[in-house]
């Protein structure tokens, strides 16, 4: 038997070598986690303070009774949530955090709801509370809004911090997708100017099989007006010094913000933008993906059926239009309180815009 020990040592050596090849790490798993209720208790106190100090009434700068009741209901929800958490009904921190997020929304909504009435016909600035799809501007459903492949969208807008809380938020757009919307037959249509949660001001063109997009960080001048212009020209020529045409350009306050060559090629040529089959044009909410919404202000909106030059745009920033200008497709000034928020005729007399849902007219600053 003795001589059989040697092969065993030999094998053991080989197997030890093999065992040494393996590397790895041991993971330790969380099984349970304690919930932290600090946030909910703080929100409870904050709401209580607001409820204790808010003036309820019908005069300017008082709060409507209905809003007060909604905030009081939110207060009860927070209390219930804390109770659930302590009773073990909630097991994950996000459930507690949800209570806090809802409490914040309730407080914001309450604070925005103060009574203030500007008489119809007086000058004012329009704020649309679009978050959670509470408010928007509906420009109507018109083929003309996305039927050209040479156009300029021009508008004045501003926004405060925390103006969006979703992945993306449409400022204004006609985006749609064709009936064959499932990949790989997706058919993208229309145009869109939007903000991204990641911090970008982006525009997109639905060019059939693809979406042409370009982005740059959005201006951080919260509470100040910006003139934003999107220029699309399918026939754009190569400018001196460039090696290619730029079909899509975005200007902010008259300065080129970014430009993009159309590299979606169909049949050897740049793909044109397809008209929106749903024809909708909306502001502060996406016409196709309604969860992409935001809160903000809009002062003026114009659409031109031509590609404006930088010089023309700079001029337009300080020019009023009367609706009779050549190539002007539509134009609105949201600078005067309307009699009826659903009746806002454009300057060309062809279209009407409806201000929908939560919004407020405040004295122009």
């Amino acid at each position: 038997m003795e001589k059989w020990k040697r092969p065993r040592y030999f094998l053991a050596l080989i197997l030890l070598i093999l065992a040494g090849v393996g590397t790895g790490c041991v993971k330790s798993f969380d099984k349970t986690r304690p919930l932290v209720l600090t946030c909910t208790e703080e929100k409870l106190a904050s709401i209580q303070t607001i409820l204790d100090t808010a003036r309820v009434g019908t005069e300017d700068y008082t709060y409507p009774q209905a809003s007060y009741d909604q905030l009081a209901a939110a207060f009860e929800e927070v209390k219930t949530g804390i109770s659930y958490a302590r009773a073990g009904k909630y097991v994950l921190q996000y459930e507690v955090d949800n209570i806090c997020v809802k409490a914040d929304q309730a407080m914001t909504q309450f604070l925005q709801s103060f009574n203030f009435t500007l008489p119809a016909g007086s000058a004012g600035e329009l704020q649309v509370f679009g978050l959670n799809q509470q408010g928007s501007i509906d420009f109507g459903d018109e083929l003309a809004y996305s039927n050209s492949n040479t156009y300029t969208i021009e508008l004045w807008a501003k926004y405060d911090e925390n103006f969006l809380d979703f992945e993306m938020a449409t400022l204004v757009g006609t985006t749609s997708e064709g009936p064959e919307s499932a990949w790989p037959n997706a058919k993208f249509e229309g145009w869109n100017i939007h903000f991204q949660r990641s911090g970008n001001l982006r525009a997109s063109m639905g060019c059939g099989p693809g979406v042409l997009e370009q982005a740059r960080a959005y201006p951080q001048n919260f509470g100040e007006w910006n003139h934003i212009a999107l220029v699309w020209d399918i026939n754009a020529a190569i400018a001196p010094g460039d090696d290619r045409p730029y079909h899509m350009k975005l200007y902010v306050n008259g300065e080129l913000y970014w430009q993009k060559n159309n590299d979606i090629i169909l049949g050897g040529s740049p793909a044109p933008m397809l008209p929106s089959s749903r024809r909708k044009m909306r502001a502060f909410i996406d016409p196709y993906h309604p969860s992409r919404c935001m809160t903000g202000y809009m002062k003026k909106f114009r659409m031109w059926n031509e590609a404006k030059t930088p010089e023309q745009l700079k001029s337009l920033m300080t020019t009023e239009v009367n609706g009779t200008e050549a190539k002007l497709q539509c134009a609105w000034d949201f600078t005067e309180v309307p009699q009826d928020p659903a009746v806002n005729p454009d300057k060309t007399g062809r279209y009407n815009a409806r201000i929908i849902g939560s919004h407020k007219w405040m004295p122009a600053k």
Binding site: M1, W4, R6, P7, R8, F10, L11, I14, L15, L18, A19, V21, G22, T23, G24, C25, V26, K27, F29, D30, K31, R33, V91, L92, Q93, Y94, D97, N98, V101, K102, Q105, N132, L164, D165, F166, E167, M168, Q196, R197, S198, G199, N200, R202, E213, Q214, A215, R216, A217, W258, Q259, K260, N261, D263, G268, S291
Partner: protein
């Protein structure tokens, strides 16, 4: 991970220990035999110097030993046994044990060659010493030891210059073989397979390694030129075991059985029961992507999902769908013969389960060979090989769905029944149900029959006429029931059935002349006249809306029958070939080959092509100036040049096909025919490949180091290329002979005897291959074609995309913002520094061709034990991998992701973007390196001494155990770095680890 590896090592240990513990008993038995004789001796060369590593084997068995540093050996063998003594560079000797008394000294005389072995080179064979081209061989034993169900896989790392690309790890999945890179853009780059003399394009899946005598790979043009218009991609010559035995009778059984399990399982977030990790991920994803308020949406977590979290009920889906499979392989063969007749017969069965769902591979093989020698001048015989293969490919999408579905989803309802829509918030269905209703089966039949008559009317001249036929047929059926991902639980079932067959006839007439003039001049001439005809037909139909589950056997019951097709085509080839091997003074070798092929695939006027080649060999070691170099046993220099063609073009490339359209006239549908999208070109001629090859065969240090080095450059011209044109003439493309590609590289094969002592030997076999593929020209203007991603000076296949440079970090926020990015986004290189990211910033990042590949087999013997480890290495290569891309880039709110180092402000990862960051350019995450080191095969065997098995009347008995794929070192996040790029929706598969126990018994 550590647990898994420990378990794996443990399993290896257990299997080996089981084997080992069984052996001492048997070994003790060997000690008791009285008929055993111990032979002691010393082996020397003619200068009386000891020879190290000389092999002494008991004939007909694996039992043997090798000489130690002093040339000594001790061997115990039966008194009536015959010993075979062999060493590289020396002539073999045989020794009758009965005649041995006391210690003996054996003097080996140097032979003319490093190896006296014979190499099959097509239409004949020559001694290895006379080879002038780059030819690699692998014998049947090595193939069997590799234990791969498809022989193709065994070539990787064992044969330099061959790259077998695995499409999937599903049982029966095919391989694409590339020899010295790729040449052609539009047509196949597969080599020509010649199975028992019949040219074939059906690969090697149907072949049983136990039936293979040898495989020769003709790599350079001078070798493959013998197959002329079909040799440009190299030639794989497969010789099955034929009748050749001239005395006695022998039965051999070789079989093994084993278990298969997953070797590597990509870790997903929350796998292995860590469900809270997944919940954290989902909170982060929704918060970052949709904002904190989105967590209040009812679909963030369903009530059932919340309940599971509450009670810690988590499912590791990727492991839920896996199972342990069985593998069984049994081969029995018999061979025998007399002075006049030789015969062989074999049967084999391989049954290999997959480890997901229904996946399975079954193969039944049979071979029969007979040779009758009427007299010294006439012999005739036949060789038949038949194979029946059945492949159950398994569900298309079950495995990928198991990766999509997160751990907080249960496959079962409250009563324990399988759910179809296990996750109501997702489109992905329960893979456990999908795999029951998504069936894909392939039945294949192969028959290879070859008969010959050989006449040697006068000495030195023989004539052989050989008729061979290969028939292969397949039936492919698919059934997708309603309860599958494809049918979404609502659409009616669909079935498809396709059938096809190929018949290939070849008649070869071969004249062989072997003549020696004096001592110095040796001639070996082969002349060939060959005709070949191949016929192909196929048909298929699809039925939508089947009323009941009938697989694909009642398509006529479907609501709608579509995709009805049938086709037939044939082609033929006539060839004349001559090859002359001339040897002068056994030092200088010359091979000249010329083949003249005429193919029906090209139009008259261009059908015939001449493909000449020439090669020179020089045995330097036999020159006087090297005679004194004792350290040098053999050194041969080879140089060759040749032209070959590529017949792998469509049979109708010169013709314009009519395309059928369906028109409606009133209520009638009318077929109309018009010009198709592609116009034929009657002026097409052969794609021609020219190749230079230089090689060195060497043997040093008393043959302890031997090997081969080859360098080559191959250029393919007149590529048949699809040229796109504006669709104004009614067609959008036509084929043209334009373009040129090149391949150049180096190959190394090295064999060493590291240790050779009385009881212990250690040998190493090493291969190394490096190939550079380049496009030389496309359209005659040396301009690249960016649209098709073809670039002059780059390989045919490239990854052309943005260069990944990491992740934007918090401290780069301002710069990122200027470029439209944010921390956590993917950072790509702004190649032209214009501040924009567009196609001008794309560049060639790499190619899915490895920089080099290598294989190393270490074989250790200790007394009767043998132990071998095979390691396969691939370095370099950039691949586009859908699996990695999908599961690191996609931020679907309900699916799972790979558990990798995603960016957070705290960790500052530079590898993967932030969760829910909505980054652009995510496709760069799918670019993965092809580097890996695989310990692919560990084999431990024990050969019983003859005395121990004599009672069984056995000549040889070896038991062995093997582990396949025990360890893989790679950064690849998917299953198997060797099959990167699997189609995730049809072929995603798991690399198996396989443990087997086997027996090899010869009676």
């Amino acid at each position: 991970m550590k647990l898994a590896i420990t378990a794996r090592v443990g399993a290896v240990l257990l299997m080996f220990c089981c084997l080992q513990s069984a052996l001492p008993v048997a070994a003790q038995t060997t000690e008791q035999s009285a008929t055993i004789k111990e032979i002691r001796g010393r082996i020397v060369n003619k200068e009386n110097q000891p020879l190290v590593g000389v092999s002494i084997v008991v004939k007909g068995t694996d039992q043997g030993t090798v000489t130690d540093q002093d040339g000594r050996f001790i061997l115990r063998a039966a008194a009536n046994a015959l010993l075979e003594i062999s060493n590289m560079g020396f002539a073999n000797q045989e020794l009758q044990v009965a005649g041995v008394t006391g210690a003996i000294t054996i003097t080996l005389t140097e032979s003319d060659a490093t190896l006296d072995g014979v190499v099959v080179i097509g239409y004949g064979s020559i001694k290895k010493k006379d080879v002038t081209g780059a030819i690699a061989s692998i014998d049947g034993k090595s193939l069997q030891k590799a234990m791969t169900s498809d022989i193709s896989q065994a070539l990787n790392g064992r044969v330099a210059g061959v790259n077998a690309i695995k499409s999937s790890n599903r049982p029966g999945a095919g391989f694409n073989i590339e020899i010295r890179g790729v040449n052609s853009f539009n047509f196949s780059n597969e080599p020509l397979y010649v199975i028992n003399g019949v040219p074939s394009t059906t690969g090697m899946r149907h072949l049983n390694s136990a039936d293979i005598e040898s495989i020769e790979i003709l790599k350079d043009a001078s070798s493959s030129a013998i197959y002329g218009s079909r040799g440009a991609n190299g030639v794989v010559i497969i010789t099955t075991k034929g009748a050749g035995r001239r005395d006695g009778f022998e039965i051999n059984y070789n079989g093994f059985a084993g278990l298969k399990a997953a070797a590597r399982i990509p870790d997903m977030i929350g796998s292995k029961g860590n469900g809270l990790e997944y919940v954290d991920y989902r909170v982060a994803l929704w918060t970052n992507k949709y904002g904190p308020s989105s967590l209040s949406r009812p679909d963030f977590l369903t009530p059932e999902e919340k309940e599971r979290v509450r009670f810690g009920e988590y499912y590791d889906w990727s492991r839920e769908v896996l199972k342990t499979g069985m593998i069984n392989n049994h081969n029995i063969s018999a061979s025998g013969g007399s002075a006049k007749t030789s015969y062989t017969f074999g049967l084999g069965y391989l049954g290999e389960d997959g480890i997901v769902g229904r996946e399975k591979f079954d193969r039944l093989t049979a071979n029969l060979g007979l040779e009758q020698r009427f007299n010294s001048s006439i012999k005739m015989g036949f060789n038949t090989y038949a194979s029946k293969v059945k492949i159950d490919e398994g569900s298309s999408e079950a495995l990928i769905n198991a990766y999509f579905i997160p751990p907080i989803v249960s496959p079962y309802d409250k009563d324990g029944n399988l759910l179809f829509r296990a996750q109501p918030t997702s489109s992905k269905v329960n893979p456990l149900m999908d795999m029951q209703n998504d069936i894909r089966q392939r039945d294949e039949t192969y028959l290879n029959v070859m008969g010959y008559l050989e006449v040697t009317p006068i000495k030195d001249i023989s004539f052989k006429t050989q008729v061979a036929m290969q028939y292969d047929a397949y039936t492919y059926g698919t059934f997708k029931g309603t309860m599958t991902q494809a049918k979404a639980g609502v659409n009616p079932a669909e079935a498809y059935k396709g059938t096809g067959s190929n018949m290939n006839w070849v008649w070869d007439n071969i004249l062989t002349v072997r003549k020696q003039l004096g001592e110095d001049h040796k001639f070996h001439f082969i002349g060939l006249f060959s005709i070949q005809k191949d016929q192909h037909e196929a048909a298929g139909m699809r039925g939508d809306g089947l009323p009941y589950n009938s697989d694909w056997h009642a398509i006529q019951t479907a609501d709608q029958i579509t995709d009805v097709t049938s086709n037939y085509w044939e082609s033929s080839l006539v060839s004349f070939m001559g090859r002359l091997n001339y040897t002068f003074k056994d030092k200088y070798l010359l091979t000249v080959t010329n083949r003249y092929d005429g193919s029906s695939r090209l139009a008259p006027g261009n059908r015939w092509g001449m493909m000449p080649s020439a090669a020179l060999g020089w045995h330097l070691s036999r020159e006087n100036f090297l005679q004194q170099a004792d350290w040098l046993n053999d050194l041969k220099l080879r140089v060759s040049y040749g032209l070959t063609g590529n017949n792998n073009v469509r049979h109708d490339v010169t013709q314009t096909r009519l395309a059928m359209s369906r028109y409606n006239f009133g209520n009638l549908g009318i077929n109309g025919f018009g010009l198709g999208g592609e116009i034929g070109n009657p002026n097409l001629k052969w794609e021609m490949t020219s190749e230079w090859n230089a090689g060195l065969d060497f043997s040093l240090m008393k043959n302890r180091i031997s090997g081969t080095v080859d360098v080559y450059k191959r250029i393919t011209r007149d590529l048949i290329f699809e040229r796109r044109v504006a669709n104004v003439n009614g067609y959008s493309s036509y084929l043209e002979n334009i373009g040129s590609t090149s391949n150049q590289g180096v190959e190394l094969g090295l064999n060493t005897i590291n240790i050779a002592s009385k009881n212990f030997t250690w040998r190493t076999n090493l291969t190394f291959s490096r190939n550079r593929n380049k496009i030389v020209d496309l359209y005659g203007d040396k301009a690249s074609d960016v649209a098709n991603r073809w670039f002059i000076g780059q390989p045919i296949r490239v990854i052309y995309d943005y260069q990944f440079e990491g992740i934007w970090q918090e401290n780069e926020k301002d710069l990122a913002a200027v470029l439209g990015k944010a921390p956590g986004h993917i950072k790509i290189q702004d190649v032209n520094n214009d501040g924009n990211f567009d196609e001008r910033d794309m560049k060639v990042l790499g190619s899915p061709n490895p920089d080099w590949t290598g294989g190393m087999t270490n074989t250790i013997t200790y007394k009767n034990f043998d132990f071998s480890v095979f390691v396969y290495v691939r370095k370099g290569g950039l691949y586009n991998d859908q699996f990695t891309y999908m599961f690191t880039a996609w931020d679907n709110e309900h699916w799972n992701k790979l558990d990798v180092n995603y960016w957070t402000p705290e960790n500052g990862s530079n590898e993967y973007p932030g969760i829910g960051a909505v980054s652009l350019h995510t496709q760069v995450l799918g670019h993965v390196s092809g580097n890996f080191v695989k310990i692919q095969n560990i084999n431990l065997g024990y050969t019983f001494n003859q005395s121990a098995i004599s009672r069984l009347k056995a000549k040889q008995l070896r038991v062995y155990t093997t582990v396949q794929n025990p360890f893989t070192i790679t950064k690849y996040k998917g299953f198997d770095p060797e099959s990167i790029g699997e189609n995730p929706y049809s072929n995603l598969s798991v690399m198996p680890i396989m443990y087997t126990l086997g027996v090899n018994l010869t009676l």
